[in-house]
Symmetry: C2
Subunit: 340 residues, 2 copies
Amino acid sequence: MPGSARTPRAPVKITDVAAAAGVAPMTVSRVINTPDRVSAETAARVRAAIERLGYVPNLIAGGLSSRRSRMVAAIVPTIAHPMFAGLVQTFTDAMRRAGYQVMLSLSGYSDDDAAADALLRALLGRRPDALLITGASHSAAARQMLVEAHVPIVEIWDVSPMPIDMLVGFNHAQVGAEVAAFFQAKGHDRFITISADDARALERIEGFIQAVQHAGGTMLGNTVLPAPSTIMEGRRALRDFLPQLTQRTALFCSSDLLAFGAITEAKLHGIAVPEQLAVCGFGNFELSSATEPPFTTVNVEGAEAGSLAANFLLRRLAGEPAREEDRVHVSFRIVERGST
Amino acid sequence: MPGSARTPRAPVKITDVAAAAGVAPMTVSRVINTPDRVSAETAARVRAAIERLGYVPNLIAGGLSSRRSRMVAAIVPTIAHPMFAGLVQTFTDAMRRAGYQVMLSLSGYSDDDAAADALLRALLGRRPDALLITGASHSAAARQMLVEAHVPIVEIWDVSPMPIDMLVGFNHAQVGAEVAAFFQAKGHDRFITISADDARALERIEGFIQAVQHAGGTMLGNTVLPAPSTIMEGRRALRDFLPQLTQRTALFCSSDLLAFGAITEAKLHGIAVPEQLAVCGFGNFELSSATEPPFTTVNVEGAEAGSLAANFLLRRLAGEPAREEDRVHVSFRIVERGST
DNA sequence: TCCGATTATGTTATCGATAACATAGAGAAT
DNA sequence: ATTCTCTATGTTATCGATAACATAATCGGA
């Protein structure tokens, strides 16, 4: 009799509840999943049994049978970034309200395809009903797995010419270009950048540099640091630029942490912000508005993105077909403060 | 024939791979889970079939059969706090290396027992092989569920006289007391506190106040703010204390964000730090060391806690028995910087 | 040369729930 | 009164993998 020795300790299962309530297991299942298909008295009796026995339904078994795990996987590089933190929060709340558990994975900023593929495989093996994934560039293997999962997918944070399914992102190069235009409108023509080396940060900087050069401005320098960004790295990076800051210069940082570090270091060396050095960060961290003086940055509505992503997925999970409008750009805007 | 209409699209399953490789399904399972029990040639053939068909094993089915989900659930209030961020990172890495997927849930700071219980039920329904949970005070229902899950559990962040199973935490009241002693050693006798209203923050403040009063110091005030803490709230809170800051005073904040806000605001009003106002934060956020001037805070080794917690769970998952040493206190220390 | 130990693989019976179908009883419509 | 619906519940056959047992093939040693 295989399986008889499998039971180290027997947790309560649906048949126990059914026996205790004097009904069939299926009725217990209905009380839990589709209560309006059960009479009020039966439901009450079953609920009492559930309560009494401390029954916690085995969603693994249920998921296998129904082929729906009631779980969605979310992959973000970090939640140290407020945009992701807000996004994850909103997304999780919305999905949870709809009865889905979010399985959150932090992928970090490493560009190790093998590790990313392994994570994805581990997640897909749990058969999530839907997927939220950061970034729009995936390895060929990853892309194939995603397509063959036959599950609604939202890619966030990035835009892609060829999304796998749905998309909620923005054009990072365009952010850089708009910041450049913003500076130039204020008469700047000498520029430096400090950036992390992750793909999106580099795109923003690239967009900035292109716009600067297109408008005939001068790039004095362009420091690239390993992700994730820290305040200290912003300080160190600015120190290297000190000799060039004799004339009025504009600085674009790929993160508010770098910007805060740069401003801190600049003040320490008697460089006037914004007169001598104008600074714009990215992310609209609380720090950017709450420090003294507050500094200019780019705001991206993470919460908006999270709720959009959740709505898209939920609509599809409810059986509605894919739509063209499920590929949207999240808005961003430059928040002007004392540093520019 | 029930089930025939269940297949919207047929994903590759173990029998498909087995057929393609000319072996029994069990052999495919062995290639994946216990490769040394399969001959090299067979394994190679099966791997080729897996690759060719793009097979992603259904861990739901495997989990049901083996009664091991290869998944551990982790519940933390937030990862905005660097201590939790570090802990989660280390913990996740260690568990992943050992072949376990971490299912991370953010519970927030709300003390809504019903919501917490619902989250716990949703997680336990997925039959995690182990659990990491923040805090040591649970509702009666939660405690019962945890005990009846019959799964290794680590409670972190807090100490408890009666842990459910294993514990990696520290005494928050003791942190407060040590900060008070630290201030008093520097000759302070007038004190204020600014704190979030979450349970642990309040414990730290309470420990601080008791130590102050025990030593005959004077508490000038004690602001409590809703969690989570922000820089701006630190600034606002300090503003209310301005009239009392005519004499030398020491401030203990339950978070570095509050401390940073308070220092920012103090400087703005011409109050000398640390001469007029000495400040100690909590958390050792990067901000505390990277801002100018850097400020004193309390450091708790999140990474250490995460790896301890992972080791404890892994040991038990490997079948070893519970030990007394699996209940440890994480060390904390006051990091003295320019603000005191 | 034959046998017990070892290794590689196959077979069978579940794991715990749910979809689909089946059925009994109550009330509505004619 | 009879048939038809609808509602509440039960029955059966899976979902896709793996544990435990069974068996065939290989091998070294007396």
